[in-house]
């Protein structure tokens, strides 16, 4: 059942087009993450769903009702802000009660509800404090609590964790995930942090310059990016790109990338390959390993002998920069395998994970 529908949505500030013809359908209970670099329009889209910004053209439906012209308070949504936006002059309790009081709910119903949600978020001992007396993590919990109390149809999150330190961010991430699993409320979550997007999303929406690039499950977007932008935006370290052109020998397709010719027998082309077509071959670092390591599909890797020119320990793995003709590629080696610089090693390419993009259109083929 469709819970939120965004149709042909456009937003401009003067001559600046922030959103270009956005279409998006969200099922009830989904956790949608809007991901993209800053300025891509993801926050604007969220604010438009919230009703805080008005769209220049298009329609928004929530729960089957056209809300394009409906005030935010009448959309049955709750929002968690990056800056938390707690009312500084009110206690935590009043902050959480505020939305329900504005809706005229009797205090006798509000009180127990607030206390229940506060216990759930472990902030029940903070109810009588002012926001300024709380730590960042506590403020974040209050902000989430304020949204929970309302029991809305949709939760909106605007980069809620970006003001927290790394460790707190990870634990709050887990908690938001748990909350969503237990409540099952539809949520839209804006972030520029791909780790948050990958872990939280049931589906993610990658945006760039006001346009949706790709919508899909996190693993699908990660492994089958539709274009070079998405491929490059996700993953750390980023995907390796090798320039080359296609060869067709009988029924067999391969890609000549200068230093090697990579067989693409297993690759499911979406567009029929053309001989000589200029392409970019994308392969993530974790698909470039010592030839001795087992491949994800259990098959034999495509092996090459390459010279390591730089290594970096990250703790869990070793990143190895390898010279491949004119180009450099990065492989992710297990932490106990550290090749010597300058001494060629046998490298296995897991070509079942390869992505092929047309060099000119930058789209997946």
């Amino acid at each position: 059942m469709i819970d939120i529908r965004v149709s042909n949505c456009n937003k401009s500030y003067g001559s600046l087009r922030v959103l270009k013809d956005i279409n998006l359908e969200i099922e009830r209970g989904e956790f949608i993450v809007l991901l993209g670099p800053s300025g891509c329009g993801k926050s604007t889209l969220l604010h438009i769903v919230a009703g805080l910004d008005r769209l220049s053209s298009g329609e928004i439906e929530i729960g089957g009702r056209d809300v394009t012209d409906v005030e935010p308070k009448d959309r049955d949504i709750a929002m968690v802000f990056q800056s938390y936006a707690l009312y500084p002059t009110m206690s935590v309790r009043s902050n959480m009660e505020f939305g329900l009081r504005m809706r005229g709910k009797p205090m006798s119903e509000i009180r127990p509800l607030v206390e229940e949600k506060a216990r759930m978020l472990h902030i029940d001992h903070l109810l009588d404090r002012r926001p300024s007396q709380l730590s960042g993590g506590q403020r974040q919990r209050v902000a989430i609590g304020r949204a929970l109390v309302r029991d809305p149809k949709v939760f909106l999150f605007d980069e809620p964790l970006s003001n927290l330190d790394a460790k707190l961010r990870a634990s709050m991430r887990t908690e938001i995930k748990k909350l969503h699993q237990s409540l099952g409320t539809t949520a839209i979550y804006v972030t520029h942090d791909q780790l948050e997007a990958m872990t939280l999303a049931t589906r993610m929406v990658v945006m760039k310059a006001g346009e949706i690039q790709q919508i899909g499950k996190p693993e699908e977007v990660y492994h089958r990016p539709v274009n070079l932008f998405v491929a490059d935006f996700l993953g750390n370290p980023g995907m390796n790109f090798m320039k080359g052109h296609l060869r067709l020998d009988g029924g067999r397709v391969s890609a000549d990338v200068g230093a090697a010719t990579l067989p693409l027998d297993g690759y499911a082309f979406e567009v029929a390959p053309v001989a000589g077509q200029a392409v970019v071959i994308g392969l993530r670092p974790e698909s470039i390993q010592p030839a001795s390591v087992q491949m994800s599909d259990g098959g034999a890797p495509y092996a090459l002998t390459l010279k390591p020119i730089l290594t970096e320990h990250t703790g869990s793995d070793n990143l190895v920069v390898l010279a491949m003709g004119e180009q450099e590629i990065v492989g992710k080696f297990p932490s106990d395998m550290l090749p010597k610089l300058g001494e060629p090693v046998a490298i296995g390419f897991d070509l079942s994970r390869v992505s092929v993009f047309d060099a000119e259109s930058e789209r997946r083929i």
Partner: protein
């Protein structure tokens, strides 16, 4: 915060050349500061001491001396008996006029400025910047250019020469400065707060009174001081649009001191001057920090 001299060395050696130089420079610095302080404080001291002297003592000279036989008679005369124009009731009536004019004018203009500033800063709409510019440009206009039409308008409304008329004029021409002050302050209130409150169901005025205003006590104090000082001290509007019965302090004081009739009672003049300056001076002493902020913001005002 630089120091002209290096900090005094802590070593216990007695009067090294470097230390002597430091002490000399420091001494010269304080000497200059004392001269500066005397220049600014001296007039107030002379004003106060003269206001407690008798006329014979004043005529015998001794500007800087303390009164030999202090008397409060000049104060009593200035407050209740001095002749201003054709009436001889002292300043008390005019002090009352000033209060009755200033307090409502201040409260109303600050309220209007706060709402305007809030609307412009937190509820922008297409053209909001233009509206802001149009309102704030009023800060730069020399009010001489509107004197005549204001006089005509007040006559038409039957408010010429009344305290109500002065209140109206001070409220209207207070809009540019208070709007600017509040708008600039409210820009620093996080937009997310307004958004959160809107989603929670609060409207324009609810958010203003319950969320934005409680965050702004300091700017309210600044605005109140700025407007109080400006309106209390105003002379141009007062002299243009008041009549003898509605004249505020500044006009009465000027009439008292600069009238060409009768014997000049300088001690009474000085007491009257202190009375006229007292309210704003007390505000300054009590709330100096806010005062400076207000003056800096208000310096552009007409």
């Amino acid at each position: 915060m630089p120091a002209l001299t290096n900090a005094l060395p802590r070593r216990s050696g007695w009067l090294t050349p470097r230390r002597r130089k430091a002490i000399l420079t420091r001494g010269f610095l304080y000497f200059l500061l004392v001269i500066v302080a005397a220049f600014f404080a001296g007039p107030l001291y002379i004003l106060l001491s003269t206001s407690f002297k008798t006329m014979p003592e004043i005529q015998s000279g001794g500007l800087m001396t303390l009164p030999h036989e202090p008397t409060v008679q000049p104060w009593i005369t200035a407050w209740g008996e001095a002749c201003i124009g054709i009436t001889c009731g002292g300043l008390k009536g005019y002090f009352g006029n000033s209060m009755v004019m200033t307090i409502p004018a201040v409260l109303i203009s600050v309220m209007i400025g706060a709402i305007n500033g809030y609307a412009l800063a937190k509820w922008p709409f297409p053209g909001a910047r233009f509206v802001f510019a149009a309102l704030v440009a009023g800060n730069f206009v020399p009010f001489q250019v509107v004197l005549a039409p204001v006089a005509v308008t007040l006559r038409t409304l039957g408010l010429f020469g009344s305290v109500e008329g002065l209140i109206l004029i001070h409220v209207i021409y207070g809009i540019p400065i208070t709007t600017m002050l509040f708008r600039n302050f409210f820009l620093s209130v996080p937009n997310d707060l307004i958004k959160a409150a809107r989603i929670d169901g609060a409207g324009f005025f609810w958010i203003f009174f319950r969320i934005v205003l409680p965050l702004s006590p300091s700017v309210i104090v600044v605005a109140l001081i700025l407007q109080f000082t400006g309106i209390w001290n105003d002379f141009l509007f007062a002299v243009s649009f008041s009549n003898p019965s509605s004249a505020p302090m500044t006009v009465a004081l000027n009439n008292l001191v600069n009238s060409n009739f009768g014997v000049k009672e300088y001690n009474v003049h000085m007491a009257a001057t202190v009375i006229a300056a007292a309210p704003t001076l007390i505000l300054y002493i009590l709330l100096g920090r806010y005062f400076l902020r207000g003056m800096t913001a208000g310096a552009v005002k007409g």
